[in-house]
Symmetry: C2
Subunit: 357 residues, 2 copies
């Protein structure tokens, strides 16, 4: 396995990063490799917190931009080591992590090493445990232990966005709606009460729900309200006394998680509802002057980010934040995860153009 | 642990039988004990097939009655060994198997040993694996390997019926109704199709279904059509591509399993339906002369049997069959399973009265 070489092309760095096993919880080696490449660069101050690495320029410039990416992946599924392949004549890098998000991290690492004299001060962050429970998230941990490192006027998260700027993100709410009944032998069903039958209005309301498309600061966010899991029943001859429907609401960043929860409780009025996960969305914040400069430099029309990303953590700190990285987000976690090399190059060019003095 | 002693009271025999571990698949020891008690009795010819035991009188009488009971139980749950307790001043035997159906088997064993000169020839059957998949059922196995042993004019199954005669049984059909969708990240739900939402009409039809009560040969059988299990979804952020609803139809013995299946397919028209289990019901057959004599001897109004029982196996062979045993069927498999001693005595008295010449 090749050692990391930050003077190589971003595509090569992507491949090297993907070929280092780094499923969530197993990021030590990749973090060690990154540390080894950056620790001695004179223009960077490097901090490490667990397997999260922060590298800062400190040139006393009036503005500071945070650029971040996670270094873990979801579990591999026979899709490592990576390989180059062609699709419709276009070269791709195929394999776990190519989209989510070693391509973005590769560009960031390359530019972190190279840009010793950027036009704004830079805080690079590479963090662990993004693909698992939020309580483990390295960025989350760092925001508690070293909030000072989050100082900045604008943030860019390298999550896959097809090399386009995707502003903010939808919020994310998960609830469980529960119905109760009375258990009985199904041969004497009239003695019991069927909790699965009692859940039918929940499914009807979800099936009939028409999700909205909501403009926020010029971007149109599509919402979604969906049953993502259902379970009930304990045996083929027992009237079930419990049915649980897990429901996921992706809500536009015009509303708080509180407002989103109130909306879901309204849709499910009359049913027991337990909130199991809540994450605020992030407004796109594209009216910030640095955001406008960034958009002008990288070109293209900004779009909304539908999936929840860690941009919301910056947004919560009052820092406008966008997603900007190579790769099609719909191929993230996919067994056929793959990134066009051209997108890696585009993102590298976009960031370099903007960041070079 | 006391050895089996068939000269003891039926209640004592019940207790001894319950205290021999005999969860389905583990019936060898209880079968050995039964064999040891019966093998040397001169009025019985005893056969053994696995852990199923058949004991026949062969006195050349014009009529033969089959009396059967299963010797296994569902798993124990801190409710063995059995103990005597009082409820509202009435003595009960409490513990796994007391209702389903060691009480009935105890009465049968006691009478098998005692009645050396019955008024009809008798075929006693005690069989294994009733509480598990039908393919393992000892009575089912014996009906294939030794159909000759099933010759008879009337059959009595000692399943719990509160010491009353319960005629025939409802049939039992289980199906799985499936809906399909297209998996997608729930942040972009519009790319997918939600299989759980697609299942809402299934639950609505089941919730709105009004089960019928159908008279068959003078007994009124209550039906039931119920979702007994539901499952769908794979993760909190994925639009589910599959939802499965397991549905149990308990149908009156006026109709065949074919007709029952057609009815369920009609209720679920438009949905994929897979049959996973089908068992014919049994008509009560109480107009048979031996059944009439039996009813007159034991007294009380006959009732329909709602739960499916092995009487259907006799019915399928053209032998009228009833359920008659101590214990409340709604306490079968219950952690507080318990039988009033008076019911054990009543059933013993009823059978002895009828069978004694």
């Amino acid at each position: 396995m090749p050692r990391l070489d930050l003077s190589a092309s971003a595509a090569s760095i992507t491949q090297a990063l993907c070929d280092i096993p780094s499923v969530s919880g197993d990021e030590r080696r990749i973090a060690d490799e990154i540390m080894a490449q950056l620790a001695d660069l004179p223009h960077l101050h490097v901090h490490r917190d667990g397997d999260t690495i922060v590298a800062r320029t400190d040139r006393g410039l009036p503005q500071r931009v945070v650029i971040a990416g996670h270094i873990d992946t979801v579990p591999i599924n026979d899709n490592v080591p990576t390989r180059l392949l062609d699709q419709d004549g276009e070269p791709y890098l195929w394999g776990r992590g190519t989209v989510d998000m070693k391509g973005g991290v590769a560009v960031q690492l390359k530019l972190a090493a190279e840009l010793s004299d950027p036009r704004v001060d830079l805080t690079w962050m590479w963090y662990d445990h993004e693909e698992v429970d939020a309580s483990l998230n390295g960025l989350n941990r760092l925001s508690r232990t070293r909030p000072d490192l989050f100082a900045g006027d604008f943030a860019i998260l390298g999550e896959p966005s097809n090399g386009r700027v995707e502003g903010g993100c939808n919020g994310n709410l998960r609830v469980i709606a529960r119905t109760h009944g009375v258990r009985a032998h199904s041969a004497r069903a009239w003695v019991g009460e069927n909790a699965i039958h009692a859940a039918s209005p929940i499914l009807v309301r979800l099936a009939e729900y028409r999700p909205r498309e909501i403009p926020v600061e010029g971007l149109r966010y599509r919402e979604g309200l969906n049953a993502v899991r259902i379970s009930g029943g304990i045996a083929g001859n027992v009237i079930p006394d419990l049915c649980e429907v897990e429901i996921n609401y992706r809500f536009a960043p015009d509303k708080s998680a509180d407002a989103a929860e109130a909306h879901v409780r309204d849709v499910l009025a009359g049913f027991e509802v337990e909130v199991v996960d809540r994450a605020e969305g992030a407004r796109p914040g594209l009216d910030a002057p640095l955001a406008q400069e960034f958009l002008a430099a990288v070109g293209g029309e900004p779009r909304p980010k539908y999936g929840w990303t860690d941009v919301a953590r910056f947004s919560a700190l009052g820092i406008p934040a966008v997603n900007y990285g190579p790769g099609d987000p719909s191929l993230a976690h996919h067994d056929q995860e793959r990134v066009p090399l051209a997108q890696i190059e585009d993102v590298e060019r976009g960031l370099r153009t903007w960041l070079t003095r």
